[in-house]
């Protein structure tokens, strides 16, 4: 069992009252609904996996929902978004329907990537993926930020593209890949508006971050070496993430400088579905689950008189039903016809 040495980051100071007022009741409930949708989607998809309906690798975002939900709320869909293989949540947040994603998990032709991508490779108009190699998406996001700057210099080719930033999510395990170093160097050198987000859930598969990264906290120690600013957020708290992302977003729009964010979060599941997580004690896991982002958000909303526990249960049921509907669709959706197997290897 790895002994946990907690780093001491300077967690961003958010103003809860201001955020509650800024977002308002409707948007807050909308964000909670999205988190509930993600939680229900993955819970049901995992059950389908165990029944043999879903294959391959399956990496759940369970426990980390507040992070990307808050990022979307703060920066909006109209940016370039990039993430790792743990991509179910971001696709849902960016507008992929539960139906098209569940169909994809089932390997159906109606799926998000026509049954070619699977759990690790989801896409939307603004989601560049779903990348399967640890750290492989970091240069891609850097290129998206490069394209944003390029189109500003050559407006004739912008084609209505008005994005401000590229947001790249990756885990603590990706920080020690060369792609991280090369990307941050280029982004800083060329003033690229890229927000690099380390979702530090403490585990690179079964290897604790203490055994993988030589200096912690990660962002606050590494960013200065790239002449970048660093921020640390509490990933279990939607409001802290929202406040932090909003701040960073406004800053990057103004400076066109890359920023490194580290988010302290917890995944409640194993690395993937086939990982029983034997390297974590039950006590540790139970303790981190006390800080379930859904519970924290519910508490904040009920304290502010926005939502009661019963209303929360009704919302949860509503999202569960949406997911159950998508499962039914996936069961009945057609398989890809092998006659099309070799199509689209090359773009027209």
């Amino acid at each position: 069992m790895a002994e946990k040495k907690k780093p001491h980051p300077n967690i961003f100071a958010h103003d809860l009252e201001k955020i509650v007022k800024e977002l308002g009741k409707e948007a807050l409930i909308e964000n909670l609904k999205k988190m509930l949708l993600i939680r229900n989607f993955e819970t049901r998809a995992e059950a389908a996996y165990l029944q043999g309906k879903v294959g391959g690798f399956f990496h759940a975002y369970t426990g980390q929902e507040a992070v990307q939900t808050a990022a979307l709320a703060a920066m909006g869909n109209n940016q370039w978004w990039i993430t790792s293989y743990r991509c179910h949540a971001l696709a849902l947040l960016l507008g992929a329907t539960p139906v098209e994603l569940m169909d994809e998990l089932f390997g159906k032709v109606t799926g998000n990537a026509k049954g070619r991508g699977g759990s690790m490779h989801f896409f939307t108009e603004n989601l560049l993926g779903g990348f399967g190699i640890v750290g492989g998406q970091i240069p891609i996001a850097t290129g998206a930020a490069f394209a944003i700057n390029y189109k500003k210099k050559f407006p004739n080719i912008a084609n209505g593209d008005s994005k401000d930033v590229a947001i790249c999510f990756f885990g603590d395990g990706a920080v020690v890949q060369g792609s991280f170093h090369e990307s941050l160097n280029l982004a800083s050198l060329w003033n690229l508006p890229c927000i690099y987000v380390i979702e530090n859930n403490e585990w690179g598969m079964g290897t604790h971050v203490d055994r993988a990264v030589c200096v912690q906290p990660i962002a606050e120690t590494k960013a200065p070496g790239y002449r970048m600013k660093a921020y640390s957020f509490d990933g279990m708290d939607f409001f802290n993430c929202y406040g932090g992302f909003k701040h960073v977003f406004e800053e990057v729009k103004k400076t066109s400088r890359p920023v490194l964010v580290e988010i302290y979060t917890e995944r409640f599941k194993g690395h993937s579905i086939s990982d029983p997580g034997l390297y974590r004690s039950k006590d540790d896991l139970a303790k981190c689950m006390e800080r379930d982002p859904l519970v924290i958000m519910l508490k904040a909303l009920s304290t502010h008189g926005i939502l009661s526990e019963d209303e929360y249960k009704a919302l949860d049921k509503e999202q569960k039903d949406i997911v159950l509907e998508s499962l039914k669709h996936a069961e009945e959706a057609p398989w890809p016809d092998p006659i099309h197997l070799e199509e689209d290897v090359y773009a027209p």
């Binding site: 492989g136 490069f146 394209a147």
Partner: protein, 326 residues
């Protein structure tokens, strides 16, 4: 039609320059492409003409800038990435393979990656093991990629222009030793389609298939054998993936004999692929086993004596032809 005599270096430069004039999305990035005017002077004068937003010096960071360019291509730009040597592409290999080549298919046809990776491939003069590898067999294994290897200025210009307009990742393989080769080519714009081999020299006794710099060795060998009454048909593949099988197969059906020549290694090489296709499609037409002339199974040695020994030579090609004809 007016013409100009230019070398391969200038042909490539013109192709890039014309495509940059035609399409603002096109830009070039790589090590020393701008202020230094290119390690092999292919991009000479381009910084001055197009400015630093479109002719971009990168640090020595192949993984970083290859991946960056792939991301930019996914977001609507059309980058040309220069590798100072294709041997350096290995540093950025994961980006090329996992992200560029697989993206269109894997994303359910959502994101195409219109990008050209170009630079010198294979051996130069005594640059030893780590600067001399021929990469086409390694990358040729990957569906989703186009691999082009022109042997002269005419093909280099026409193929590169087509490659830049293509919506897929393209590996465009040049050769350091060939940059100075001159040729009379049209001044007017022209394009060469991808996937078309070229019959460089017609002959009826034996087919010689090759690509890139080895085509010239094949032509020299054919010229020498012509003096002995042996008429060799020389085919320049130009495009390795996709492969122009009909041109190769038609030739073998005519000559009934075949020798395959490749600068890269013999094991799992391009010749292995071409040879397999020939035996499958022309089994009844072949009068002798196919021979291969490739780099021997050694890393590239430094000494010029050893370097010459491991590489295909005119003499080795002639010997192989004579063995097949015997």
């Amino acid at each position: 039609m007016s013409s100009q005599q230019i070398d391969i270096r200038e042909a490539i430069r013109q192709a890039i320059d014309e495509e940059m004039a035609r399409d603002e999305r096109v830009h070039i990035l790589g090590e020393e492409v701008a202020e230094y005017n290119g390690a092999y002077k292919v991009t000479k004068g381009m910084l001055e003409k197009w400015g630093p937003d479109r002719v971009i010096d990168t640090p020595i960071s192949e993984l970083g800038f290859a991946g960056l360019a792939i991301g930019a291509a996914m977001c609507g730009l059309r980058p040309i990435v220069e590798f100072m040597s294709f041997n350096f592409s290995f540093v950025g290999c994961d980006q090329i393979i996992s992200n560029a080549i697989k993206m269109f298919y894997m994303s359910g046809s959502r994101f195409s990656v219109p990008i050209v990776f170009r630079g010198p491939n294979g051996a130069a003069a005594q640059v030893s093991s780590q600067h001399s590898h021929c990469v086409e067999a390694l990358y040729g294994n990957l569906p989703g990629l186009i691999v082009l290897a022109p042997a002269n200025a005419y093909d280099a210009k026409g193929l590169l222009k087509t490659a830049i307009r293509n919506n897929n990742p393209v590996l465009f393989l040049e050769n350091e030793l060939s940059y100075g080769l001159k040729m009379e080519i049209p001044t007017e714009e022209y394009l060469i389609p991808i996937g078309k081999a070229n019959i460089v020299r017609e002959g009826k006794h034996i087919t010689l298939v090759s690509h890139s710099r080895m085509v010239d060795l094949c032509t020299e060998a054919a010229n020498e054998l012509a003096g002995k009454g042996i008429e060799v048909e020389v085919i320049d593949l130009r495009s390795i993936r996709p492969l122009d099988l009909p041109t190769i197969l038609d030739s073998v059906r005519k000559t009934h004999m075949c020798v395959l020549v490749e600068e890269g290694h013999v094991f799992s090489g391009i010749c292995a692929e071409v040879g397999f296709e020939i035996q499958q499609h022309c089994f009844d037409f072949l009068d002798a086993p196919i021979e291969r002339v490739c780099q021997r199974e050694t890393p590239m040695p430094y000494s010029k004596v050893l370097e010459k020994e491991t590489m295909p030579t005119k003499e080795r090609i002639i010997a192989a032809i004579e063995r097949v004809l015997r």
